[in-house]
Symmetry: C2
Subunit: 211 residues, 2 copies
Amino acid sequence: MTADRRKFTREEPETRRADLIAAVLDLMAEAGPAETTVRAIADAAGLSPGMIRHHFTSKEDLVNAAYEAHMARQIADSERALGAGNARERLRRFVSASLTPPVVDPRAVSLWAAFLHMVRRDPAMRATHEATYLAYRDRLQGLIAAALAEAGRIAGRAELRRLAIACNAVIDGLWLEAGVLPEAFVAGEIETLGLVSVGALLGLDLAGGAA
Amino acid sequence: MTADRRKFTREEPETRRADLIAAVLDLMAEAGPAETTVRAIADAAGLSPGMIRHHFTSKEDLVNAAYEAHMARQIADSERALGAGNARERLRRFVSASLTPPVVDPRAVSLWAAFLHMVRRDPAMRATHEATYLAYRDRLQGLIAAALAEAGRIAGRAELRRLAIACNAVIDGLWLEAGVLPEAFVAGEIETLGLVSVGALLGLDLAGGAA
DNA sequence: CGGTGAATAATACGATTGTATAATTCACCG
DNA sequence: CGGTGAATTATACAATCGTATTATTCACCG
């Protein structure tokens, strides 16, 4: 009874890289960084451990690639639902998309936490993080400015910045709470709460009927 | 030239336990969970590695104790400034304390992230986390209810719960942003923003002069 | 249709991990 | 003032880590 050898199947390098990245994100989210070993990654991807250093220069390199892929997808998910419509409606959809799956997801919060310390130390990851954060806030600030202008209100630069930070904070906070204690909220509660709260911060009615 | 032996100094077990806990929190916050090894902990505490398993049953036991100590201090820091005064003023001070050091601190965010995965898996840590979170939110909800009542407004249970979740979210979000990107905000900006935002969510003026 | 080489698998290796055990130190007590 | 034992240090050990190396597979080409 010899240990059976893993089947040999040739695949595109891009496919292999994508599989390894997906395995890293799965493990980071579900099991945590400590359990995300090269052997666990390879096993989750259905490959031999050697593949990691064949397709990436090191485990760290693979993890960095996984972080970039995750951040890119988070941004895409937030902006996916923007579409057309007036400014209020676009802001409404942006907030909704930020407070519903797949953006709101225990996995996403887990990943955020798992990567935080690497982001703190690795300059490249830190740059990716800051760019993503500020891009999101700028996008939000632009939508807020447009919605306020549409309602006939004007806000100075400083005031706009304050509103964007506050709205971003309430969205982040709800994202966090829903991700950490998902069973503490009923379906749609976080989204509605976000629309009402952002509306209260801005003095706009976002939760009401479509414009 | 022999390696010099560490000096033998007898200390109270409580002191030793406290030193080890402090070392764990330092390392978790500064270096991350991966670098928080028994040898690094002992070195940071100025002790020999064996002390960990002498004063705690395992490294995991020590880490759990450190988590509990950290959470207890966070709660104490939030409530420290409650004091006397009318309901609005008490709410104001609670929000302020939650958005100024030592509660707002890059270290605190690092610790939160470092512990998240252990909290997810370890039932005891999870219980501590949920109890702390809900205790904080209940405390906030009580202060909100009193402040609204003082202003002659009544809110039903469901409405009160929604307000508490939303106010907690904006506080959490600001806590997070200030902790992750501390250099992105000027002194006092987060605190003022929190008071204005919570006030806007509740329809109360918190940022204005004392009652 | 045998040879070649990149892709894949399997194994080996040194370093580091948490834990267990043995060796020291010294306050305290009779 | 010698003996005792808990506190402390130092060392040993098996397991596991990331990496390096060797062995296989098989599509492709002449």
